[in-house]
């Protein structure tokens, strides 16, 4: 057993951190926050594309770096730390992983190289209304190779060039790949809690679509895609939660009230210790998820779910208590705390809320311990 990243992976992490801390500061994030017309930070995106990170886990034969899932996990954590305001996750965790999982040879050789070089931005369009995504509730329809219906909200839906869309058809639910730059597609930005990652309503009206995987297998496939994305999202969440603890810790040492640093009071000390414990629990579960993901282990469903449940809890707790530790300052637009609070919520409900993942986890445990 060796339960840690390798030296090469740690080197990648250090390099990514250095790069992002310089090139993706919260000032860069705020450019997107404060400008409704901006869907992402183009400068940051361009540099990330140039680093080749989008192709970290895409095999070389499809134009990627062919490093592996562990390397993508490392990158995800770093992007999470800096709240990268770019469509990386939509393209790399969802779109590319879905293709790797279920795409035909032709789909893979056509699309994956473009994901890797950034000329294609992928996203996933599933949600249509409030509540959990369930079989039998999807209204967007596939018939004769074209789809009609409305998806809301689609993360990064306004900048994406392609989407994987959950639809219903004669055989149940299916996933299809849709080129978003065609006449049967219209998009409207939608305002969300998290303006540094853009969201859209996408309406399809006879847009041509091609099947991803088998017809009627959409829900099962979506589950598999989400299991893979869940681990990567957990690393982003972990990165964000770690930053919240660092920020709260720095502030607690600096801020003086009642004649001493507020961090000298146990109410603050124990709050931050609780944060630390939750973050470590999340880190350990995320590492296990990374192992399961990278080795195609049979344990992936429960490992992914546990990673996601732990990371969502850790980020929620760290982001809210970071604001609390900052007192009135934490409640201002200028101080960065709320950026993490917002991002924590996006990452917790994208691809299923904690309740959904808890249920998935218990179902997996039930199946294996029957």
């Amino acid at each position: 057993m060796n339960f840690d990243f390798s030296d090469d992976q740690k080197f990648l992490r250090d390099e990514a951190r250095k790069f992002l801390e310089a090139q993706c500061t919260t000032a860069h994030v705020r450019e997107v926050l404060d400008d409704d017309s901006k869907s992402h930070n183009e400068g940051v995106w361009k540099q990330i594309v140039e680093m080749g990170w989008l192709g970290a886990a895409i095999p070389e034969e499809y134009g990627g770096l062919g490093l592996g899932m562990l390397e993508l996990c490392v990158i995800a954590e770093e992007l999470g730390r800096v709240l990268a305001p770019v469509p990386f996750g939509s393209s790399a965790y969802f779109f590319a992983e879905a293709l790797k999982l279920a795409g035909s040879d032709e789909q893979k050789s056509q699309l994956l190289p473009k994901v890797a070089d950034g000329s294609l931005i992928g996203c996933i369009a599933v949600s249509e209304g409030p509540g959990e995504i369930k079989a039998g509730t999807i209204a967007t329809r596939l018939k004769d190779g074209v789809i009609s219906g409305k998806k809301i909200p689609v993360t990064d839906g306004d900048i994406a060039t392609h989407a994987i869309v959950l639809v219903k058809d004669g055989s149940g639910e299916s996933l299809v790949i849709v080129d978003l730059n065609q006449s049967g597609v219209s998009r409207e930005p939608v305002k969300t809690l998290e303006p540094t990652r853009s969201h859209a309503t996408i309406s399809f009206d006879g847009a041509s679509a091609e099947l991803l995987g088998e017809a009627g297998n959409g829900m099962a496939l979506l589950d598999q895609i989400n299991d893979r994305a869940a681990v990567l999202l957990a690393f982003e969440q972990l990165g964000g939660a770690s930053r919240c603890l660092e920020m709260a810790n720095d502030y607690a040492k600096e801020r003086v009230a009642f004649g001493r640093a507020i961090g000298g009071n146990q109410a603050i000390k124990h709050k931050l210790a609780d944060m630390y414990v939750k973050n470590e629990v999340a880190r350990s579960n995320a590492y296990y998820g990374a192992w399961a993901l990278s080795s195609d282990a049979a344990e992936l469903p429960e490992a992914a779910a546990a990673a996601r449940v732990a990371a969502s809890e850790a980020y929620w707790f760290a982001s809210k208590e970071n604001i609390q530790t900052h007192g009135g300052m934490g409640f201002t637009w200028e101080v960065d705390c709320h950026l993490f609070y917002r991002r924590a919520k996006l990452l917790a409900v994208q691809a299923g809320s904690p309740a959904v993942w808890k249920e998935k986890l218990v179902s997996a445990l039930e199946a294996k311990n029957g």
Binding site: M1, N249, G263, Q266, I268, V281, Y287, A355, K358
Partner: protein, 398 residues
């Protein structure tokens, strides 16, 4: 990152498992807490001896100390395999996990020759005599005093909460040798023979019903100066080595976990309850968090890195986790959940038993609050609590 055994690890695991199967029965749910059984001590001693003779006791200790000279990973594998069997290990956890390592670190060659082998073979049991009525969390505030008399020290005072003192042969004893310096600077550590004159051990009746810890009174007990561990006044430094080992040793899960409560819920027909399922997910995540964090520590250890105070998190997670699971299991059983009679209560009453044990786990080996302080101060570097006794001598404060 790899969870599979290397070929050498797999070979060792098979060897360990074969040895265990030869000597022990697989663990059953009812055996989760077999500490209270009448013949427990005898079984534990016998098992320790078998283990030592088989070369599986204290795997990472060097061969000349009677260990296996093995790797951290072998120790981990042994622990995983031993946990699958009904292995009575309890009485040796404190001695071999904490006291004897302290003797090895600070004792003379004579001490090592005299004590280590016997402890390893299960022939002698050790206890830890630190806490006192007025000094638990603040153990450096202890009052039991030692006064030098020729080549000997004369001990007077009282210890409390001493686990296993009633069956122990030796103990490591922390006492005050100098009251005229600040509290941490006037302490000294000794090896004490528990069977000698003037040592009076009185079992304490625990809230859980058992009598596993004790009050220990010292009246004019004489200890030769040669049984001192470390210099006079250096006792705190010696104690920290013991306590560091304690937090590594104490974390293990001693009772029912997510799997047991899930099995119970299935048999009771309540596994489909939504609220229960959400909690079950949280318990699994916490249990995995604990287990996997330990794996991370062990990976670091196996690379020669020293584990830091980060280990405090294991005990915080574990003790609260156990208490919560037991509480939920009892409430699921409704009025019937009160029953502790093993013949009547579901799951051999393991939930009820551990429900009464869990509060002690949150206190023993550092309370939740003290562990959080340790994380805040030593891991996060936050300011220390206000210490009103910091620059005062012990005598001035008492």
């Amino acid at each position: 990152m790899d969870f599979n055994d290397t070929p050498e690890e797999a070979e060792f695991r098979a060897e360990a498992n074969a040895f265990l199967s030869q000597h022990l029965k697989p663990k059953t749910p009812g055996a989760l807490r077999s500490v209270g059984r009448e013949d427990f001590l005898e079984r534990a001693k016998a098992w320790q001896k078998t283990k030592a003779e088989g070369g599986f006791a204290q795997i990472t200790w060097p061969k000349e100390m009677g260990g296996r000279g093995g790797t951290v990973m072998q120790q981990v594998i042994w622990g995983q395999e031993e946990a699958k069997f009904d292995a009575p290990t309890g009485p040796f956890a404190i001695g071999l996990g904490m006291c004897v390592p302290t003797v090895i670190a600070f004792g003379s060659d004579e001490h090592k020759k005299r004590y280590v082998q016997k402890a390893l073979m299960g022939e002698e049991i050790w206890c830890q005599l630190f806490s006192e009525p007025a000094a638990g969390s603040d153990v450096a505030g202890l009052k039991t005093k030692a006064v030098k008399d020729g080549d000997e020290w004369v001990i007077n005072g009282q210890k409390v909460w001493t686990s296993g003192a009633h069956y122990s042969d030796y103990g490591i004893l922390l006492v005050r040798t100098d009251p005229n310096v600040p509290k941490h600077k006037g302490l000294t550590m000794f090896i004490v023979d528990m069977k000698q004159k003037g040592v009076d051990v009185r079992p304490i009746h625990q809230a859980s019903g058992g009598k596993e810890f004790n009050e220990v009174y010292f009246t004019d007990v004489r200890i030769p100066d040669s049984d001192r561990l470390g210099e006079p006044g250096m006792g705190w430094k010696v104690a920290l080595v013991t306590l560091m080992n304690e937090r590594l040793a104490v974390g293990g899960s001693p009772g029912p976990d997510w799997k047991e409560i899930m099995d119970y819920a299935r048999s009771a027909g309540t596994l489909s309850d939504q609220a229960f399922r959400a909690k079950l997910a949280d318990w699994y995540v916490a249990a995995q968090g604990y287990k996997l964090t330990k794996f991370r520590t062990q990976t670091a250890l196996s690379r020669g890195e020293t584990p830091g105070p980060e280990n405090a998190i294991g005990k915080i997670i574990n003790a609260n986790h156990l208490q919560d699971i037991c509480n939920s299991a009892i409430e699921m059983q409704d009025h019937f959940g009160l029953i502790v009679d093993k013949d009547e209560a579901p799951s051999d009453a393991i939930f009820q038993e551990s429900f009464m044990w869990a509060p002690g786990l949150r206190i023993a080996g550092g309370t939740d609050e003290i562990l959080k302080n340790i994380i805040a101060e030593r891991v996060l570097g936050l300011p220390q609590d206000v210490r009103v006794d910091k620059d005062k001598t012990f005598a001035e404060m008492n």
